[in-house]
Amino acid sequence: MRAALSRLDAKGSPYLYIVPFFLLFGVFGLWPLLYTGYVSFNDWDLLDAGEHTWVGLANYRELLGDAYFWNALGNTLSIWVLSTVPQLLAALWIAHLLNHRLRARTSLRMGVLLPNITSIVAVTIVFTQMFGRDFGMINWLLGIVGAGPVDWQANTWSSHLAISLIVAWRWTGYNALIYLASMQAIPHDLYEAADLDGANQRQQFWRITVPQLRPTIMFTAVISTIGGLQIMAEPLLFAGTSTPTGGSDRQFQTAALFMYEQGFREFRFGYASAIAWTLCLVIAVFAVANFLLTRRIANDEK
């Protein structure tokens, strides 16, 4: 009996240990996901005490023909590219610096994470003030060098640039730390051998560091894609009026913000759910594409 119990313990206990995760994932991850899928096939008015009728694919059909959805998707991609590419390059460079002989290395390493642990609302509000039209610091600086003031919220390019900067500010340090961790796992003798062969710093970086970081670069590229395509708080707060349309002409309304507008301003729960699922598919496609792409690039470097 005792033997049977201990055999059971060995076989059964591992499942018990992982149960809490699956339980939480089921309740807060899987169930909402499936329920959202169900809601997306309904005409569902949030205000009407959850009255709903099954409409099949009608929400998805409407979405594909909705110019505001395509506009939001375009804005999302633009902001994502503008923030992710410079952010990952900068992170790589910062990690490279932090990996070398520096004074106060530990505090600098911890310092790069500060923007990430600062509240997103606080960061966005401060940046929005800096990008203010009449009394913003950036326009003041532009004025000193003789460039005209820019109404950052008004134009498509300027608003995308400003929002991308806020996003990049928050996430560059985080990615730099991930790069740094994996840089420190690169065997030192590789660099010593390269030194002996007369390779300079630059060559060492591109020929040793970057190829060795390949799995990490792929990881950050995929994670940044997933995060970047869901950007919502920054454009919502950047507008300054807490209206979820992303500017007077929706010039910086992202897909996630469009979903929020449809769900919680128009109260079209079904339509918003259809947006959520479509966005989920778009993110999956981009994440896979990015995975394949970064794997290729890193391969070529070898």
Binding site: V19, I125, D249
Partner: protein, 418 residues
Amino acid sequence: MRFLRTVGALAAATMMLTACGSGGGSEGGGGDITLDVNLFGNFGYEQLYKEYEAAHPGIKIQEHTAAYNDHHRDLATHLATGSGAGDIEGVDTGFIAQMREAGKQFVDLGTERQAEYLPWKWQASLTKEGQQIGYGTDVGGLAICYRRDLFEKAGLPADRDAVSASWAAGWDKYLEVGAKYTAKAPAGTAFFDGGGALYNAVIGQAPQGFYAPDNTVVVASNPEVRKAWDLVVRAIQGNMSAKLVESSPEWNNGFAKGQFATIACPAWMMAKIKDQAKSFAGKWDVASVPGGGGNWGGSYLTVPKQGKHVEEAKKLAAWLTAPEQQARNFTSQGLLPSIPALYDKPEIANYKDPFFNNAPVGKLFTTAAKELEPQYQGPRTGDIQTTIRDGLIRVEQGKQGSEQSWTQTVSDIERLTK
């Protein structure tokens, strides 16, 4: 056996989860109850809460304030999901019709106080079935607040009677004054704050606004809506707008920096000006609004059925909106009562505000409120206002011409109210 153990662990985990979940709640010890009051902006109730708590031992009042749009969106969501609303929820005129449509979700406050209120104020929160969902707090009324010093610098008469007279004939005259101001405007100032706010004031005077009384949207067909649009566009094209969006941080900043000389001024706006433009005390003044009366804003206190302490909440809401408290809120905060019997009381009718150069605001606002022709408000009035505001911002930003922006605004509103 393995199955049983798994089930046992699941049960234990569930118990832990539920144990964590039931930790909250606002019950205090010893039978104390806490009433949650969710508001937007500044209702000026801090002092009143203290008195109420002192007179009613065992009752604590906790106020939560959010931004205008956020507050109403949260309330709608809480009503929809059946939980999360406070014991008392403030609702603005722009959203009262939307809440009225969801009248089943609110406690019926009965008809006892009907005789006290301005009839149109009472009607606006009354459902089709005759259920009263909210006690009126204040009404907006409408005047124009202006900066005397800026008027003087621009070479315009700054005396309040002269200013009132200069645009008494209507908004066209207001624009004429604006053109004169703009020609000699002190650097860094404009005639008014922004197109959206001016639009609200102008359309508020029309006999019919965005809705017909049967709740059909008449934005595209009501000539008044387009007329007000054209007027504001003319003002924007005449360079009179400071291009600030109402309630944005830049707009708040605009008061402190003195970026505009006039602003459409419901009674509650005076509190806003006092908050934001402290350094200009005495330089502000109040003139009557072009074209006589008008109303912009004003609020209600509602009691959602899902609240935990419905009876106590009803009593508190009735007390906060009772005549004595409304009268005090006028002299302390500038919030104009919605109870007309108060308008002729000397402490209100003769009230002068030193911040506004001792302007007779009591007389100005009560006159405007008495002359007011009430306008029917439909369910999405607040969101329609925001959509029109965005359309005017596109013109201000030079992104679109008037005609193009109008077309887009109308189609956006059609989509919104579909």
